[in-house]
């Protein structure tokens, strides 16, 4: 497989900042991959995406998109990518069709025509097709103002795909959408991906959106904390543990020591285990238990843990 995104030692320090917003990160994304950048607010996600899409200059490092250098061939990079911004980028005064038409002309797909009726037949049939997919045949010629948040996002995706980009960048596309709109937007994106095999580069702080990705890159304080498939990350970071307690806590502790188990004593006692051993541990405990709970953390827990670790390392 060919790497469509190559990032080597990328550093970005904003003017007047005393820290790097993006601090020496390297990664690559294969063609057709669904790649997710996951991290809390201020982690460096939007900064990275802005550099990758040529709207922000980097401090140092190397970035290649679809074989083109972002500095030397920025226009070719732009031609090959589609972007869904964090803030909506539709013109509210224009109709849905005008928004799409203007985009198509800027990307050199069609010649300029002042009205829809003067546009080539090929364009018209494509628009009608897209309107059908989105279910907006009736509203196609209405101003965007009248559209719902979810509808606007879908329209932005349709628009960003019209020039058939090799990579589609989505910067927190579902922020501010209600759960139903989020779900339907997501389904649409999955279907688009199946059809066109577009590479997807997503940034999000919603974990569930990252679980469908081929690979997840967790970023915090401008550094890559973890990079791997969601299952890998989950496996590596989420160890099962049991929570125990007894009225005779000292006896419980000595029993655990006898079994050579490591534990953490807080309000109760936390014992890390492999899932196979849970039964053995329970069988080995003779003292009557007042608390017994088995915990298997979600990816969310793993993520929060990573973010916490990152904080400690950097002193807050």
């Amino acid at each position: 497989m060919v790497d469509i995104i190559q990032v080597k030692n990328l550093v970005k320090r904003y003017k007047k900042a005393d820290k790097n917003a993006v601090d020496d990160i390297s990664f690559s994304v294969a063609e057709g991959e669904f790649f997710t950048f996951l991290g809390p607010n201020g982690a460096g996600k939007t900064t990275t995406i802005s550099i990758l899409t040529t709207t922000l200059s980097k401090t140092s490092g190397e970035v290649n998109i679809a074989g083109f250098d972002v500095d030397k061939d920025s226009s070719k990079v732009r031609q090959n990518v589609g972007i869904i911004f964090q803030n909506p980028s539709l013109d509210a005064n224009l109709t849905a069709e005008e928004n799409i038409r203007f985009h198509a002309i800027l990307y050199g797909l069609y010649p300029f025509r002042p009205t829809f009726s003067l546009m080539p037949e090929d364009y018209k049939s494509r628009i009608n097709e897209l309107a059908q997919v989105l279910g907006i045949e009736k509203d196609l010629f209405k101003a965007i103002k009248t559209y719902s948040g979810g509808m606007k996002r879908k329209l932005e995706i349709v628009r960003s795909l019209i020039h058939k980009p090799k990579v589609l960048f989505l910067d927190e596309p579902t922020v501010g959408l209600d759960p139903a709109s989020r779900k339907s937007l997501w389904e649409y994106l999955v279907s688009v991906r199946k059809q066109d095999k577009t590479t997807i580069f997503l940034t999000t702080h919603y974990l569930d959106e990252a679980e469908d990705a081929d690979r997840v890159c967790i970023i915090n304080h401008g550094k890559i904390v973890k990079l791997g498939s969601p299952t890998q990350i989950k496996k590596e970071l989420t160890k099962e543990y049991i929570i125990l307690d007894s009225k005779d806590r000292n006896k419980l502790k000595s029993e655990l020591v006898k079994m050579k188990l490591k534990f953490i004593e807080n309000a109760d006692i936390k014992v890390e285990v492999d899932s196979k051993n849970v039964q053995k541990i329970i069988q080995g405990i003779k003292v009557p238990l007042s608390v017994l709970r088995i915990n298997s953390p979600s990816l969310e827990d793993a993520y929060l843990k990573i973010i916490e670790v990152g904080k400690e390392e950097l002193g807050g």
Binding site: S75, F85, S89, L90, D91, F112
Partner: protein
């Protein structure tokens, strides 16, 4: 060809926005009424001292000023919308940055023409005698101040960080030019300091250019026109190129080097 298509697209968008914004459209018609009606009308009483009719004088001044200022402030609106709408979309498209600025200037020129047509109508109502051919010549000549204002706006835009600083600084850059460029009062003779500033104000050449064409062959020409059409045009052409290239260069550089 593609860049030309993009220029038209960006320009049409600006114009469409104006047409669909009723309040803005109405506002752009009210201003000429104030300028021509109140200023022109109130100067009528001193026309004997001036030695010429102040109404056509104010009309030609406002005509140039509206084109210059409306295009300039329109360009500065790029700051406002690069944050929140279609402009980010324009900036990530694979077209040249000069195309974007030029499309925007052309669009804002179209917008300023709706205003300048209101100026013409208002002036006729207030009694300025204008033949159809004069109107036509002025509308064609008006392209020069409009494009020039756009280039001026680009340079201002490039040096402003935010919408807030734009709102604070722009009036400071524009209002002195109202008087320095002689929209309402003659500037042929001025005290030395004002004279220097008046010749430094870009709007001066826009106003003088329109007047030099309007008064060409009329007896008041020598009393009113400071330079001549060719000098005004040449100065504006040179400044246009300087403002536009340096402005676009700085704007793009500041945009990316944050």
């Amino acid at each position: 060809m593609r860049e030309l298509n993009a220029i038209f697209t960006i320009a049409l968008r600006d114009f469409t926005k104006l047409i669909r914004d009723r309040v803005r459209l109405l506002m752009s018609l009210v201003f000429p009424l104030i300028f021509i009606g109140i200023f022109g009308g109130s100067f009528q009483s001193i026309s004997k001292q001036l030695g010429f009719d102040p109404l056509p004088f104010v009309f030609t001044g406002v005509f140039a000023q509206v084109l210059f200022q409306s295009t300039a402030s329109g360009i500065i609106s790029l700051i406002e919308d690069r944050e929140n709408d279609f402009s980010q979309e324009i900036f990530v498209s694979p077209i040249s940055r000069y195309t974007i600025i030029f499309g925007k200037i052309l669009g804002e020129t179209l917008v300023s023409y709706t205003q300048v047509i209101a100026v013409v109508v208002m002036s006729i109502i207030f009694g300025v005698s204008l033949s159809p051919s004069t109107i036509l010549v002025l509308l064609v000549a008006g392209l020069v101040p409009a494009l020039f204002g756009g280039a001026f706006g680009t340079l201002v835009l490039a040096n402003l960080g935010s919408q807030r600083s734009a709102n604070q600084l722009f009036p400071f850059l524009i209002f002195p030019q109202f008087f320095l460029s002689g929209i309402f009062t003659p500037i042929k003779e001025l005290p030395p300091i004002l004279l220097v500033f008046s010749r430094l104000a870009p709007m001066t050449y826009a106003v003088d250019f329109i007047r030099s064409i309007f008064y060409l062959g009329k007896p008041e020409y020598s009393k009113i026109v400071v330079f001549d059409p060719l000098t005004d045009f040449a100065i504006m052409a040179i400044l246009f190129v300087i403002f536009l290239t340096s402005g676009t260069y700085l704007f793009v550089k500041n945009e990316r080097n944050r």
